[in-house]
Symmetry: D2
């Protein structure tokens, strides 16, 4: 049984193969596409006052950008052969060690890196 991420990756892969676009989808190019979409996402939030919510039109644009970001992230992981969810949990494992709840409660300061 495949997960929802695997299904999305498989659909994107078929979309690319049907258009002979594998030549464009190098890891380097996909990272750039991801960065471009994140830039568009950032632009939706740049002038928001603190606590100001997105209006309905902006939320629609944000969802479209999040769709693009997710698509390229999943496509990039597919091309690289890595598991995004496993890698995210591995980083949370680290963060739980670096930021013990007692010392960092309510604080945004950065922890020192973990020893290797």
């Amino acid at each position: 049984m495949s997960t929802e991420i695997e299904e999305l990756a498989a659909r994107f892969r078929a979309f690319v193969e049907a258009r002979d676009w594998e030549q464009f989808h190098t890891p380097k190019n996909l990272v750039m596409a991801l960065a471009g979409e994140v830039g568009e996402l950032v632009a939706e939030f740049q002038w928001l006052a603190p606590g100001e919510p997105l209006d309905e039109a902006a939320m629609g644009r944000v969802r479209a950008e999040l769709g693009d970001v997710t698509g390229y992230l999943v496509r990039l992981a597919d091309v690289l052969g890595v598991d995004l969810i496993a890698d995210a949990h591995a980083k949370l494992d680290q963060s739980e060690k670096r930021y013990d709840a007692e010392s960092y409660r309510g604080s945004a300061r950065k922890a020192p890196p973990l020893p290797p």
Copy 2:
């Protein structure tokens, strides 16, 4: 039954709540965190020659960055209350209409936007 994305979101949410960090995790701030991590990811690819693979050390750093990007993306979607996978499929629906396979085979040119 929850999905792997929901499980990751729930874990990240608990991690944040245990540290009283909800005050920092506004959508605006999370979008910036996402952009910062994507910037680090881009930096891993910037000097690669065409077709040059990542060496093992670079792949380790890339996986760590992908873990961060995935974590913040899932966290942002959780705070906004949106479904990343659904939004990604909605964009692929559009791309299938904008880029018909026949006309865009082997071409990287941009299609005109769909009529609203």
Copy 3:
């Protein structure tokens, strides 16, 4: 008489040539380097509360990042043969037309694009 931007570009160019790095400094790679440095800059601001100033250490890191961003931007413009200051003034010319002071005073809403 050359400007301060031309002098910076000339110094960066000599630095690159002395190391035989022109092969890495394609426009595409330089755009990625710029994006990576901007990502690091964003990361310095992501958790700041509204109105919270940068402390002295953060300001030092921000100045280092601004130095990197400026360097790569000037280097990219040098490789592309374009004049950043002229291009910035051209965009301000447009913005003055799109955002007349009367209609947009105190408003962050986006203007429609100018007719071509």
Copy 4:
């Protein structure tokens, strides 16, 4: 006598003041605006094959994006009160020490950071 960067900063400052936009131009928001414009710049290069030049239309878009990037970078530096050119030279000073020409000729590997 003011430099071309100071003149651009002064023009942008007057443009903002005439619209009562200082409230939006916090350092945090300006960093986001810069990141958004850099994302648009990246998008112009993402599918280019190695060595493929920008066509004339793409070059026009790139120049418009470079104008936006330059404008926001200069505006950000103006609001922060820092000197971009001095900061860029300071980073080149460091790079000249970290990357001695002999050892790094023709190599894209990263140097270790300088000791503090």
